[in-house]
């Protein structure tokens, strides 16, 4: 560690220096660096992201090319590092391309849910009264359905396609964000600095987006990170049930479904796709927990 001895005097300059040092050491990034499990999560997330985003440029194999001579080929077969699936398609290429879709769907779904949900929660919490009642009753109605069931129903209504998967996962996760944001707004809006900002002549929209949102954003980041993990699982469940990603697109959930039929004869298909999901979800969960430790001082030991 960098424990260079500071010159010990009480001059303004060295106090200033101390302040800067402290600020640097306590920055969110530094704190995250000190958190081992969060760093492990981050490494997993970065690995999976690189795997599926850069992978296609290094491992140039068409994930849709079928070779019926190699159906269910075991891992290690020459030219097939992870074997082939039930239609003789290269499993590694499929995992790489499937990861792309899974991650895009998860992050996209998170973004859709977060934007709509946070906006609804902010307005609901700040306005109060009738507006609050109406928005929150709608959210209650939505969360009365199990998450996956709601996403499934939306998929049925919207039809297949990557955009629709993103949209339905996003909409299904709106109530969670809205509740979270509203709860935080109710706490923060009674803080004296919000009153002070009002007394200095700030308009409602300014208070909402410049003062309330930044003050609640840390807990929302945590929630969103954990939500990405959930979205990956939801996408996998949807695809597994045949309501999500449809061929020729691939996703991890879709590969898992392909592997299900042949799980006794070719277990590697389900194993590797399941492992990919596991690693990603674990990564996001550890990262989310770590970010919470860093951003929420009340959780500190």
């Amino acid at each position: 560690m960098e424990n260079k001895e500071v010159k010990r005097d009480l001059s303004e300059a060295s106090q200033q220096e101390m302040l800067l040092k402290e600020r640097k050491a306590n920055s969110a990034w530094r704190k995250l660096r000190r958190n081992k499990s969060a760093m492990f999560g981050l490494i997993l997330v970065v690995f999976v992201t690189l795997f599926s985003l850069v992978g296609p440029f290094i491992y140039r194999v068409d994930p849709a090319a079928m070779d019926f001579l190699k159906v269910n080929a075991k891992p290690g077969t020459p030219g097939l590092p992870l074997g082939a699936d039930n239609l003789g398609r290269d499993l590694l290429a499929r995992l790489i391309h499937g990861g792309r879709v899974s991650l895009i769907v998860a992050v996209g779904g998170m973004a859709v849910g977060a934007v709509i949900g946070i906006l609804a929660g902010l307005i609901s919490g700040y306005a109060g009264g009738k507006v609050d009642i109406i928005i929150m009753r709608v959210m209650d109605g939505m969360s009365a359905f199990p998450f996956t069931l709601l996403a499934l129903m939306l998929m049925t209504a919207l039809g297949a396609g990557i955009e629709n998967v993103i949209l339905s996962i996003g909409i299904a996760s709106v109530p969670g964000y809205a509740r979270m944001a509203r709860g935080q707004v109710l706490v923060v809006k009674n803080e004296e600095y919000i009153k002070a900002v009002k007394a200095f002549g700030a308009s409602n929209s300014r208070i909402l987006f410049k003062h309330l949102l930044p003050n609640i954003v840390s807990s929302l980041i945590v929630y969103a990170t954990l939500n990405v993990a959930g979205a990956i699982l939801t996408e996998a469940s949807l695809s597994f049930l045949g309501m999500g990603i449809t061929p020729p697109d691939v996703s991890w959930g879709a590969i898992l479904k392909d592997g299900q039929d042949v799980i006794r004869s070719a277990s590697h298909i389900a194993t590797y796709s399941g492992l990919a999901i596991l690693i990603t979800v674990l990564g996001f969960n550890l990262l989310g927990d770590g970010i919470r430790d860093v951003l929420d001082p009340k959780m500190k030991k």
């Binding site: 109060g128 004296e192 600095y193 007394a199 200095f200 930044p214």
Partner: protein, 336 residues
Amino acid sequence: MNKEPLLKVDNLKTHFNTATGIVKAVDGVTFSLDSGQTLGIVGESGCGKSVTSSSIMRLLPKNGHIVEGSILFEGKDIVKLSQKEMLQIRGNEISMIFQDPMTALDPVYTIGSQIMEVINAHQKMSKGEAREYAVKVLKMVGIPEAEKRLKSYPHEFSGGMRQRVIIAMAIACNPKLIIADEPTTALDVTVQAQVLGLMKNLQKESNSSIILVTHNLGVVWKMCDTVMVMYAGKTVEYADVKMIYSDARHPYTWGLLKSMPKVTDDPNIPLASIPGTPPDLKLTGGSCNFHNRCKYCQEICKNKCPEMKEVEPGHFVACHFSKEELVEMERRGGND
């Protein structure tokens, strides 16, 4: 000189609707304030001091309404202005200093950007100009190395320094009126005097008026020109600060003055206090609000709410009895 006072509050009534009835938090408050003058509002907790100042800012909670009276600020009735017009007044012509400097600054922004936000909300200035101006105000309130401190966050300041920053924000747009709601209550005694002195100096330079809400009668003596004593939502006495100290007329004011501890007091004698508690503000209005705690209470006090009377020029009292009558009662042994 303009004869019209800067702020003239006339029979202001602010009520709150609650599940159990109407809370008359402010129920007839009258005072006026000239430019460059300081008014002290004193009274115990819950007597409507803060609601009076929120009413002037028009920053009442949703269930609070100004039901009667007027607040004339430079001749305009604030009660009748729209919320949009109020945005231009808040922070610009009337601004506020808060009780607790530890919580009155937004923790996620540097103090520089917070001061500049106030400036930009009301004045057309480029970013650079606003920055320079922010440094200038910070220097005015005595923050050392103002230039560097612009980039500091609120948690990097001590309480006294933060209160200075809040004062800087309050004076940034040269307001004509500053409402200070117990500005020194949360500060160390050693810092209190500094902050009060600073406010006094800034007032001299800018000729702005101050409304000082406080519990502390010593602060009133040091800072104020006129004093309004409030009790249970009403003005009970309003006068020049010297008159209040030398010639108070209302039994409640006497009680307040008596309960002020002095260094010269004999430590073996218990501190004086006013027995009893203020009435429930949902039940006030039909009688003198102070009658259940007043040792001079008579039949009329229980049945009739006293009117404000001008007993001498500039000295208003709301009591059924004159000072002479009260003194006479005291001589005969209090309640008879």
